[in-house]
C-alpha cells in the first residue's frame, strides 16, 4: 500500500519545484531482490532491524549482534554490519568489532560516515594494542575468548541505541535519477534549492537512484535533480535509529501537467476549480498555486463580503500561469450594535430593526451601504439619532453610549405649580372680569354703589390674578428653563474598527485586502504551514495528493 505525498515547495524566488514521493516506510514493503516480493522483503529487513534494535536497547548486546549478523547474511546491507560491530564493541570484543567495522568500510566505501567509522577502527586498534602490550605473553589469543581484551574496560563504551545505523532505501520512477543527500547540522537552517550554499547543511552523499544508504540518525534533505525530461524534486526526511526507511519518487514530466497560481486582492479568498456549484472541497485560498491538468478551467473565487467572481483560464501542458483577480465589495454592510443600556431599540431610517439586550451578542443589522439615519432608543435614556455610513461588505461595530435623561422633576413641579397658579389666575381674572362687567352694567343703569363690596372683591381678584400670572410666568419660565436645561451630554456612538464578514469555511474571518496587510504579516501568512488533500492524476499514475506549503 502506497501513500502518495505531494510536497509543494515555494522557493524564495517564488519558482515552484515539486517532488512526488511514494513513501514506504516501516509498514510498507519493498525488496531489492527480484526473487522476493518487494513487500515481504522489506518487512523482513524491518523485522530484523527492529529485533536487533530492541535487544540492544535491553542490553542484550550478544543477542543483538547475533540478529544483526543474521540480518546481514540474509540482506547484505552495511547497516547490519555497523550495528553488529557496535554490539561487539559494547561486549569489549575488539576483534569482532574491528572485523565488522572493517567489513563495513569495505562493502560501503562511499558511506557518508566513512571517516567516523575509520576513526572508530583506529581507536579500537589502539586500545587493542595497548591491551596486548600490557598483557603477559601467551595469554592473548588463547581460549574461546581469545578476541576479548585481557583487562576491561579498555574500549570506549559511549554508544547507545541512537548509535544504531538506519537503512534508507531511495528509489525513483524511472530509475537512474541523480540524488543528493544533505544532512542538517543546524536545527534552524532551511534548505533552499538552487542556492549557491546552504549554511547549516552538509552534503553527505551524491549518487543515483536506486540507492540503499546507511545513515546516522538525523535530519536530511533529499534532492532529486532534473533527470532527462523529468522535473527536479526534493523532500525532507528524518532518520530514526535502527530503522528502515524507503522513499520512492514518481517524477513528473512537465509536458503532462501545468501549474496554475491564483491570487487576488483579498488574501485568503476561496478558490474553486471547475466547480462553480461548489459541490467539492475548495481548491485553495488565495494566493494558491498547484499542478493542474492542461486545458481550460473555470475558476470561482469567493470571499465573504465580496461579490463572487467567475473566470476561465486556458493552460498549456507544462505552462505556469498566474491568475490575478480583483474582487469587489458587495453593496451592503452590517452594523453591529451594542449599547450602554439594558435594552435598546434600534431603528434605521426610522424602520424598526430589532432590540438589543445587555448580555447578549451585539445586534447585527444588514443594510445597504451608504449613509443612513440610526436611531437608538431606551427607556430613561436620551435617544440617539445620527447618521452612520454603512460600509460595503464589512461589519461596522457601533457602541452606543446611552446617556440617562436629565431628571425633570423640578421642572415638572414648577410647571404644575405654575399651571395651578395660572389656572387660579385665570379663574380669578375671569371672576374679576365678571364682577367688573356686573359693576359696569350697574354703573350703566345707575345702580352702582361707590362702596359696592364686589368692587373690592373684584379688585383683589384682579390683584390676585395678576400676581398669579406673574408667579405663573416666573414658574413657567423656570420650568421652561429647567426643561431645556440639560448639563448631560447627548447619547453618542463610537465606531470600532471595521470587521470582515464571518467566513463559514474558516474559524476566523480571514478576508483581507492584500494592500492593507502589513508586509511582514503578509509574508507570515504566505509561509504559514498548511496541508491539503487534492486528487491527482497523471500519465504515470494517480492518487490523493497531500499538499504542504512551508
Amino acid at each position: 500500500m502506497f501513500a502518495l505525498v505531494n510536497l509543494v515547495f515555494l522557493s524564495r524566488r517564488g519558482a515552484p519545484v515539486f517532488l512526488l514521493l511514494a513513501l514506504s516506510a516501516l509498514a510498507t514493503g519493498a525488496s531489492a531482490q527480484p526473487k522476493d516480493a518487494p513487500g515481504k522483503r522489506l518487512e523482513a529487513i524491518r523485522s530484523e532491524m527492529d529485533r536487533g534494535q530492541s535487544l540492544f536497547a535491553s542490553g542484550n548486546y550478544a543477542g543483538a549482534a547475533e540478529v544483526f549478523e543474521a540480518g546481514y547474511a540474509a540482506y547484505p546491507y552495511s547497516a547490519f554490519l555497523f550495528n553488529a560491530g557496535v554490539c561487539y564493541q559494547k561486549q569489549n570484543d575488539v576483534d569482532r568489532a574491528l572485523a565488522k567495522f572493517k567489513e563495513y568500510v569495505k562493502v560501503d566505501p562511499n558511506a557518508p560516515d566513512l571517516a567516523k567509522v575509520n576513526q572508530r577502527i583506529a581507536t579500537l586498534e589502539a586500545a587493542k594494542a595497548a591491551a596486548l602490550a600490557a598483557a603477559p605473553v601467551g595469554e592473548a589469543g588463547a581460549g574461546p575468548n581469545a578476541g576479548a581484551l585481557p583487562s576491561a574496560p579498555v574500549l570506549p563504551s559511549t554508544d547507545d541505541q541512537t548509535s544504531m545505523k538506519s537503512l534508507v532505501m531511495i528509489e525513483t520512477e524511472p530509475d537512474g535519477a541523480p540524488l543528493r543527500i544533505y544532512q542538517r547540522l543546524d536545527e534552524n537552517a532551511h534548505f533552499v534549492l538552487g542556492a549557491p550554499a546552504n549554511p547549516g547543511w552538509k552534503e553527505v552523499i551524491a549518487t543515483h537512484a536506486p540507492a540503499n544508504l546507511t545513515l546516522d540518525v538525523g535530519q536530511y534533505h533529499i534532492v532529486v535533480e532534473k533527470f532527462r525530461d523529468f522535473n527536479a524534486s526534493e523532500a525532507d526526511m528524518t532518520v530514526s535509529p535502527g530503522h528502515v526507511h524507503q522513499l520512492k519518487a514518481n517524477l513528473s514530466q512537465g509536458k503532462f501537467m501545468a501549474f496554475l497560481r491564483v491570487s487576488s486582492n483579498v488574501l485568503g479568498a476561496h478558490v474553486w476549480i471547475d466547480d462553480n456549484k461548489k459541490e467539492r472541497s475548495l481548491w485553495g485560498d488565495t494566493p494558491h498555486g498547484e499542478l493542474v491538468p492542461g486545458g481550460k478551467h473555470d475558476v470561482l473565487v469567493e470571499s465573504p463580503g465580496f461579490e463572487p467572481l467567475q473566470s476561465s483560464v486556458e493552460l498549456e501542458h507544462g505552462e505556469q500561469k498566474e491568475l490575478e483577480v480583483r474582487l469587489e465589495r458587495v453593496n451592503y454592510g452590517v452594523l453591529r450594535i451594542d449599547a450602554s443600556a439594558p435594552v435598546v431599540t434600534v431603528h434605521v431610517d426610522d424602520q424598526p430593526k430589532g432590540v438589543w439586550r445587555s448580555g447578549t451578542q451585539p445586534l447585527d443589522v444588514r443594510f445597504d451601504s451608504g449613509a443612513h439615519w440610526l436611531t437608538v432608543e431606551s427607556d430613561g435614556r436620551k435617544t440617539f439619532r445620527g447618521k452612520v455610513v454603512v460600509p460595503r461588505g464589512q461589519i461596522l461595530p457601533l457602541h452606543v453610549k446611552m446617556i440617562p435623561k436629565y431628571p425633570r422633576g423640578p421642572a415638572w413641579t414648577q410647571a404644575i405649580i405654575g399651571a395651578a397658579f395660572l389656572g387660579a389666575s385665570i379663574y380669578a381674572g375671569a371672576e374679576s372680569n365678571r364682577l367688573y362687567n356686573e359693576l359696569k352694567s350697574d354703573n350703566q343703569n345707575g345702580s352702582l354703589e361707590s362702596s359696592d363690596e364686589r368692587a373690592t372683591r373684584g379688585k383683589w381678584l384682579a390683584v390676585g390674578a395678576d400676581a398669579g400670572f406673574v408667579v405663573a410666568g416666573v414658574l413657567g419660565g423656570l420650568a421652561t428653563y429647567n426643561f431645556i436645561k440639560d448639563p448631560l451630554p447627548e447619547s453618542s456612538v463610537s465606531e470600532d474598527k471595521l470587521l470582515e464578514f464571518d467566513d463559514p469555511l474558516k474559524t476566523r474571518p480571514v478576508a483581507q485586502l492584500a494592500p492593507r496587510r502589513a508586509p511582514q504579516n503578509a509574508v507570515a501568512v504566505e509561509h504559514a504551514p498548511r496541508l491539503e488533500l487534492t486528487p491527482s492524476a497523471s500519465t504515470t499514475g494517480g492518487g490523493l495528493f497531500l499538499g504542504g506549503r512551508f
Binding site: E438, L439, G446, S447, L448, E449, A455, D466
Partner: protein, 448 residues
C-alpha cells in the same frame, strides 16, 4: 445672575403695571359711582335711613337721615357738588337727646328758611317732638340753633305726659319745597293735624267737618303739602280707612276743608307733593296697596269748600287725576306682589326738565334674588298711562332685608334733583345720582 435678577425685576414691574391697570378700573368705576352710600355715624346705633328730609337754599342742599322713630336721632349731610358728595355726617345732634328729651318723628321736614321765635333761619329741619327751650315740635337749623314750635293743647298735654312718662309719641311732619314752606304736623294718637303757615310759627289746626269718619290710629301717618298758586293744599292720609283728607289754605285766610277721598285699600298710606306736570304748581301723589295716583294740584286747589262727610267725591277727584300706575316689572327686579309698592313716595325733577318724576318705593321687592332688598321705581307722570316704570333703581350691593325705598326724598343738586332713599333694614341710606331720563352727558361723570 444680575441679568437674571434684572429681567425678573422688569417682568415683575410689567406685571405689576398690568395688574395696577386691571385693578384700577374698579376704582374708576367706584370713584364716580352713580350711587353713593352715606356713612352711618357711630352715634346712630339705633336705626338709620328710616326717615329722610332735605332742604335747599342757594344751591346748598342738606339731607337729614333719621333713625328709628321716637328712639333715635338724625344725622345731617352736606351733599355739596355731585362730583364730591360728603358722605360723612356733619351734624349728628338732630333730636339726639343729649340731655333733652326729643322724640324723632316718622316724617321729618326740611326748610330752606324757617321762622323761629325771633327771626327767620336758613336750612332748618323739624325733626320731632320734645323739649328744647320749652315743649313742642323741635326745630334745629344749620347753625346749630334749636327751638320749638307750639302745638295744640291736646298735643302739648300728650307730649308733656310722654316726656314725663318717657313714652315717646310720633308727630309726623312735612313741608312743601318752597323757599318759605308751610309745615304740616299731625298727632295720629289724637287724630289731630295742624300747620304753621309760611314765615310763621303760629299754628293753625285743621278743622274736620262733622260726620267725617277719621277715627283711626293711621290718621296723619302720611302728610303732604302742595304749594299751589300762592296757597297750599294740605293732604292728610288715613290709610287705615283708605282715605285722604284735603284742605286748602291761603294767606290771611282760615283753612277750608276740600273733601275726603276714599279709595281702594290702603289709600293714602303714602303721600308726596311736587311739580309733576309743567304748570308750576305742586301736584299730589297718593299710593294705595297696589297703585300710585297723581292728582293735579291746581285742580285740587280749585275745589270748593266742602261740608260733605261721606268722603265720596270721586268725580271731583277723577277730574284732578293726572294718572295712576302700578308696579310693573323690570328685568333686574321681580316680585311686585308683596313688594309694598308705594310704601314711600317722592317727586323729583331727575332730568332737570322742569317737571318732576314720581319716585315710588317698593321696600319688599326682590332684587337679583335678594328678598326684601327693595327698589325705587321712577315713573314719568306725563306718560301716566304707562304701567312700566321708566327707571328702576336699586343698590348694586343689595342685600336681603335692606328694604330700600322705605323712605325717599329728592334733594336738589345742581340743576336737577337726585334721589335719596333709606334702606333701614340694614341701616343704609344712599344717593342715586343718575336716571335714564337724563340726556347723555347731563349727569356729569357719575352718569355714563
Amino acid at each position: 445672575m444680575s441679568h437674571f435678577s434684572l429681567r425678573l425685576g422688569l417682568l415683575g414691574a410689567l406685571a405689576l403695571g398690568a395688574s395696577a391697570c386691571s385693578w384700577s378700573r374698579f376704582d374708576d368705576l367706584t370713584d364716580n359711582a352713580p350711587v353713593v352710600l352715606l356713612e352711618k355715624p357711630d352715634s346712630m346705633n339705633n336705626g338709620f335711613g328710616v326717615s329722610l328730609a332735605t332742604a335747599t337754599k342757594d344751591e346748598h342742599t342738606e339731607l337729614l337721615v333719621g333713625g328709628t322713630v321716637t328712639t333715635s336721632g338724625a344725622a345731617l349731610y352736606q351733599l355739596g357738588e355731585d362730583s364730591a358728595p360728603n358722605t360723612k355726617a356733619t351734624d349728628t345732634n338732630y333730636c339726639s337727646g343729649d340731655g333733652k328729651p326729643c322724640f324723632l318723628s316718622s316724617l321729618i321736614a326740611g326748610f330752606a328758611n324757617a321762622q323761629g321765635p325771633d327771626r327767620s333761619r336758613p336750612l332748618c329741619f323739624a325733626v320731632g317732638s320734645g323739649e328744647v327751650v320749652k315743649q313742642g315740635l323741635v326745630m334745629r337749623c344749620q347753625d346749630g340753633g334749636e327751638y320749638t314750635l307750639d302745638m295744640p293743647q291736646a298735643a302739648e298735654d300728650l307730649l308733656a305726659m310722654a316726656i314725663a312718662q318717657n313714652q315717646p309719641r310720633d308727630f309726623p311732619m312735612v313741608t312743601d319745597r318752597s323757599d318759605d314752606p308751610l309745615l304740616l304736623a299731625s298727632l295720629p294718637e289724637k287724630r289731630l293735624a295742624w300747620f304753621y303757615p309760611e314765615k310763621s310759627d303760629i299754628l293753625s289746626e285743621l278743622p274736620l267737618p262733622d260726620g267725617v269718619e277719621v277715627d283711626d290710629p293711621s290718621f296723619g301717618s302720611s302728610l303732604a303739602v302742595l304749594a299751589v298758586e300762592g296757597g297750599r293744599v294740605l293732604a292728610v292720609g288715613v290709610p287705615g280707612k283708605s282715605r285722604v283728607l284735603l284742605w286748602k289754605t291761603e294767606p290771611d285766610a282760615n283753612p277750608s276743608f276740600l273733601g275726603c277721598w276714599s279709595g281702594t285699600s290702603g289709600m293714602g298710606r303714602a303721600l308726596a307733593s311736587g311739580k309733576v306736570n309743567a304748570d308750576g304748581n305742586d301736584d299730589l301723589v297718593v299710593s294705595d296697596e297696589t297703585q300710585v295716583h297723581v292728582l293735579d294740584g291746581s285742580s285740587l286747589f280749585q275745589l270748593p269748600e266742602s261740608n260733605a262727610s261721606d268722603c265720596d267725591r270721586p268725580l271731583v277727584i277723577a277730574g284732578s287725576r293726572l294718572g295712576s300706575f302700578g308696579c310693573g316689572s323690570t328685568s333686574p327686579l321681580s316680585g311686585c306682589e308683596r313688594s309694598e309698592f308705594g310704601a314711600a313716595l317722592a317727586v323729583g325733577d331727575l332730568d332737570g326738565d322742569g317737571d318732576g318724576e314720581v319716585i315710588v318705593g317698593a321696600p319688599k321687592m326682590t332684587v337679583r334674588g335678594k328678598e326684601n332688598a327693595g327698589a325705587l321705581l321712577v315713573y314719568d307722570a306725563d306718560a301716566a298711562t304707562e304701567t312700566a316704570p321708566v327707571d328702576a333703581k336699586f343698590m348694586s350691593s343689595a342685600e336681603s332685608g335692606d328694604e330700600l325705598g322705605r323712605s325717599i326724598v329728592a334733594p336738589h343738586v345742581g340743576k336737577r334733583d337726585i334721589i335719596a332713599a333709606g334702606a333701614p333694614g340694614h341701616g343704609k341710606a344712599a344717593l342715586f345720582y343718575c336716571s335714564s331720563l337724563l340726556p347723555h352727558g347731563a349727569g356729569g361723570s357719575r352718569c355714563p
